[in-house]
Symmetry: C2
């Protein structure tokens, strides 16, 4: 029932009583083989439990048929939604998606880029965190295309799918101002993450247009945990020192802020403090006070990223220029910020 530990194409050929090349043909060009021998070969494959060694196949081909997706944070539903979209679309093209989690750490990002490069993936989807653009350009010259996800290319030779984060930040804070907020706090960080600094930029534009103060409560991560600590920072202040509106760089933070706010009996959301998050994850509408948020088309972004990648998977000669797709964010108003109407 079970042959040697490593069953090779040669073993299969022997078992089936055919030539080695014929087995390869059955695997790769079945139409070149008569029905009868094809059946014999398949039977032998089944008996021996043969599985094609991808390393050898790749070595020959020079590339695998997977793409890698290095996510900033697997625990952020936004990214897993993007991943979901990527998988759906990749399947359409016969590609598999391997996921990795850089967890906001440049070293881990670098490690996974290495790993995927060594594996000679067809391409990479990546939300860059560290300073990796030179790295990626070299990769590209060596035949591994990168598509930037949730981040614009800014003149660099990559396709990208992103959302206008400046517009998103602007939307969020404009909305808070409309609801009557005058002392707004931005919760988020680190600013080395472009998405965060862009959202802050948009926020401060909206703030300065209306002459509203914008305080920045810098956090070292975009997690529920960080949100909690930002929240308790605020609640520990005397009432008069607290902001009346809080804009969080993502929903995880907002959830954390909400957790710490709702531990204070006498703090009313949105009455005392209005709250806006970012990403509109599934949970946003299920929080203590349903969360106003900025929606990004996450699944569509994943699909688009793969399409852009496949577009670049053509021979250099006929390869189109990299493209940038920018989606517009959308304000989703819920109770956490709704003061009128």
């Amino acid at each position: 029932m079970s042959g040697p530990a490593q069953v090779s194409i040669r073993d299969v050929a022997e078992q089936a009583g055919v030539a080695l090349g014929t087995v390869s043909n059955v695997l790769n060009r079945p139409e070149k083989v008569t029905e009868a021998t094809r059946a014999r070969v398949l039977a032998a494959i089944g008996q021996l439990g043969f599985v094609r060694n991808d390393a050898a196949r790749q070595l020959k081909a020079g590339t695998s048929n997977s793409i890698g997706f290095i996510m900033l944070d697997v625990r952020n539903p936004f990214f897993t939604d993007v991943g979901r979209g990527a998988e759906l679309q990749a399947a359409q093209h016969g590609l598999a998606v391997l996921l990795a989690n850089s967890d906001d750490q440049p070293e881990r990002e670098a490690t996974y880029i290495d790993l995927f490069e060594q594996q000679r993936v067809q391409g990479l989807l990546l939300s860059p965190i560290g300073n990796v653009f030179e790295r990626l350009e070299r990769l590209q010259q060596h035949g591994i295309v990168t598509v930037l996800v949730d981040r614009g290319a800014e003149g660099r030779p990559f396709s990208s799918v992103s959302v206008d984060d400046v517009a998103g930040g602007y939307l969020a804070v404009s909305h808070l101002i409309e609801q009557g907020c005058r002392r707004i706090a931005f919760v988020g960080g680190p600013l080395s993450i472009k998405q965060v600094s862009d959202r802050l930029l948009g926020a401060s534009r909206a703030g300065s247009q209306h002459d509203v103060s914008l305080e920045v409560l810098l956090q070292d991560g975009l997690t529920v945990q960080a949100g909690r600590s930002a929240g308790s920072l605020i609640t520990r202040r005397p009432r008069s020192d607290r902001p009346d509106g809080v804009f969080c760089a993502n929903d995880l933070l907002a959830v954390g802020v909400l957790q710490s706010f709702t531990m204070l009996e006498r703090l009313n959301i949105p009455g005392d403090i209005a709250l806006v998050g970012y990403d509109d994850i599934d949970f946003a509408s299920a929080t203590v006070v349903p969360l106003t948020s900025i929606r990004q088309p996450s699944v569509l972004m994943g699909r688009t990223a793969v399409d852009l990648l496949v577009e670049q998977l053509t021979p250099v000669a006929i390869r189109p220029e990299p493209r940038e797709v920018v989606f517009q964010p959308e304000l989703v108003i819920r109770d956490s910020s709704r003061r009128r109407s």
Copy 2:
């Protein structure tokens, strides 16, 4: 600056003016090479942008140094937490973790098992969904070890990390009964998922011990979406027909149920209906009504899974027997079910 598309070890040797074997030594046994030539080789590697071709390395070695983790659902924070733990521990052993998402679909699970087998990963972490045990045993004979995650091995020759789901279901429903519930509904499905049927089993044991009715509202998935539809199924009934306690097979479902419940002004949680979820994800304490849940030690489970895998990565002769690690779940009581102090 950039050489041929594929820079090989041979190009490096040429550039550095050393022998091919020396480059290999620099890469794999640096101590066998003098400092000076090592530096020359490293310089050449840098200049040419050489990256070791893992396919070739693997082909030679017969195995990669990654492990694959096939998750039931990337969008469930429980699994990403497990993944996080696995990554942490794998890094300790110099292994990389590649994540894949079977999304509850047996075909996708099979596809990824194939993929990882073709890639000759060192081992697999897997929460089985389809009927894959024969497959996995064959894999094991061919040198790819599997550790079952969130699922016991039940006599099969695999190590496993799981949580006692029957105990968890029992805990949940016993708690509801203690809070005075007498008509309990179980929301979850499909029952083909062992975790779900075990939780139901525990639930019904608790129910029958106290002579409490247990209604099963079967869903086809463990998602927020499915939870919403179960919730509206309940709220559409006349008050007298509604359960007074709901136990959801996971927190995503519970979040969905909560969403639909809280759309009804006059429905009081936990007064009219008490609610218990499962997994105790980060969001559980941030929901409209903070969610009572059954906690599983997710990160620890991931770490343990990798340890069990590494344990099995020894030559067959000295390999220890597979082990089963079973953690006990823990009831975390919050407002969604707390009726008496």
